[in-house]
Assembly symmetry: C2
Homo-oligomer: 424 residues x 2
Amino acid sequence: MFQRLLVPKVAASLGCKSFRNATIMSALPQARTYSIKADNASAQPLMDIDPKLLKVQRTESPKKLLPAKDLIFGKNFTDHMLTVEWSSKHGWYAPQITPYQNLSLDPATCVFHYAFECFEGLKAYKDKDGVARLFRPDKNMARMNTSAARIALPTFGSEAMVELIKKFVALEERFIPEERGYSLYLRPTMIGTQKTLGVGPPRSALLYMIASPVGPYYPTGFKAVSLSARSDIVRAWPGGCGDKKLGANYAPCIKPQQEAAEQGYQQNLWLFGEEGYVTEVGTMNVFFAWKTPDGKKELITAPLDGTILNGVTRDSILELAREKLTKEGWTISERKFTIGEVAKAADEGRLLEAFGAGTAAVVSPINKINWDGGIHGDARDIHVPLQEGKEAGPLAENFWKWMAERQYGDVESDWSVKVPKWTE
Amino acid sequence: MFQRLLVPKVAASLGCKSFRNATIMSALPQARTYSIKADNASAQPLMDIDPKLLKVQRTESPKKLLPAKDLIFGKNFTDHMLTVEWSSKHGWYAPQITPYQNLSLDPATCVFHYAFECFEGLKAYKDKDGVARLFRPDKNMARMNTSAARIALPTFGSEAMVELIKKFVALEERFIPEERGYSLYLRPTMIGTQKTLGVGPPRSALLYMIASPVGPYYPTGFKAVSLSARSDIVRAWPGGCGDKKLGANYAPCIKPQQEAAEQGYQQNLWLFGEEGYVTEVGTMNVFFAWKTPDGKKELITAPLDGTILNGVTRDSILELAREKLTKEGWTISERKFTIGEVAKAADEGRLLEAFGAGTAAVVSPINKINWDGGIHGDARDIHVPLQEGKEAGPLAENFWKWMAERQYGDVESDWSVKVPKWTE
């Protein structure tokens, strides 16, 4: 039998009349359906996620909002969580918004043993009119589906999930700080919940979302970071899954991160292969701006070859760069390049800027890279030029500004998705 | 503050007089200690796991034993579980044996997001005198420590954990089936329990062990398996963590496994590199027996180069082979070899046997490998010879016998560790 995952006390209450927005289960057959290969041998279509079935159980003890200055990324959460359960026989069950609460899981549950887990990170912003806005949530949901499929977790209708995210954000709107630079970080997560130790595709799963109000990554302005670039630890490889947002890609990066910190560097720059291809930085994509040996301005980032994450910020920066920089003579490139080329550009005075790009910081300027020199070379520092007294170059500053304008709705764009106010 | 992970109802009972083997906390300062770099800036030694502090809360509703024929790997569990909590400020807390129960975890807990999880698999056997025996548990605990350290989870005294495993097995002895070929599968697991989303080393963790009575892998005798060897999906990479028993290594292997099954093959043979180096099979190590081109008998398996798991069964088979086969003219090799060499040996009539080696099956004979031919070659089948009407070759049969003799204590060896009977 399908088991509820929430702790018994709350789970028992999920069918009761306290739901304010409950839709009866008889509505299920009209819901959008999809098929997957699983236990469903009769090829009956499985239920997709259906926002119309959302049930809401509001908390009876709303949290007090923290002062903006006390917000720490991913430490404090809103009143509620969104959950959608799945089984290989039925598909997706009715989505639920419940009070934020613990998950109660059998110790044999497959997420604890075989890392059946993937996640997303996106933010809700409040615009000048007090309207909540999401930034390209369709991209996150599309990526989450590719992540899930790679580890035999179920996929779902991206649009349906975006609808649910909007509902959730509308309910939690008071947690989105008004202050510019602040936002509500959303963390959709999917875990396998089958409670057996056999190594196989999970026959049950839970998609859930929690949310944490966050302050600006750089509360007092940019602060450039230094990187450690090593050849002996490899984050991802062709034929692996480094391009998916899997939990599996994160835990193995902590030890190198600690070792970098012990050496005085804030992040790792992940290289690949004897050639020393530049891939990612920490948990971000990475961009370099340089003059090519023949004097042309180029903004370059690694290509989507399966070893880097397909970042939403990366994609947005590329699109903004093509719109705004090409006409100023820049070439915008997604192609392989090596740390050796970066070092040579620095030595020859051609290196202009370097920055990471991700949801948390948007852009994160880089001022120094310690490179171990590869398999045969000597360790050295690569210095990224920064104007005296500045912590970011003009490109990083512009991208940050252009992104923020769209995130906060100062500049209207298709990327910014308004969240309708909550209605019962 | 440090939070109890067990569901509130039970956690609240952990300090009460129902413990039959409780040791008071004042014994803590005498316990063995160790140091790690963490929150412990004052370099106060952190507590190691101390078996003397074990607290036992017996179940009030013992389970009925299942008939041997109904035992399915990792589906049914014993009455109790072993838990040891850790914090970066204190180290390891007093170990506990409690009734088997759900874990209650905040949805932000880092194990759900970043795969802070590692595990082990070992078995307890019942010998002809009814004495429970473990097989090389020291190897499993040593490996668990290397796995934990790789993902910034805490390490522990291996001997202390072996003591706790013995206590647990003694308490659960009735779940070890008497029948030959049956055993009690033990699953030590460690998860990060910090409940924040920042990507960093967990400041709290839980080590727990559950146990599942299991039947023989081949209830009606060996059944040789067929493999799919692909070049486009890569399990592990130098500089990665394929040699650690991390959850992260498992979820990404399911989709290739499903695709192999759809093609009619039971497992994947994991290759590496353009050369097509043979690494592992499914979740086992793999051995080939062949005659070299100059006519010498060789038993060969991949070396411990960081891309394969350091299997306890692999190690045991190598040691048995060196003891028993070298004198029969066999060369026992841990070195790199390619699927192309295997294909050539098969074509030239030199391939003798192939089998996987792991805790679940001990040995798993292979009869066919479908190889995609690498980047430039054509797909083909490699047939592993088996005598008419047989499902395993003589080497596989012998290794299985030699291993079982030691696991069940028919042949005394240092590998077999007797478990003292339970005493309060």
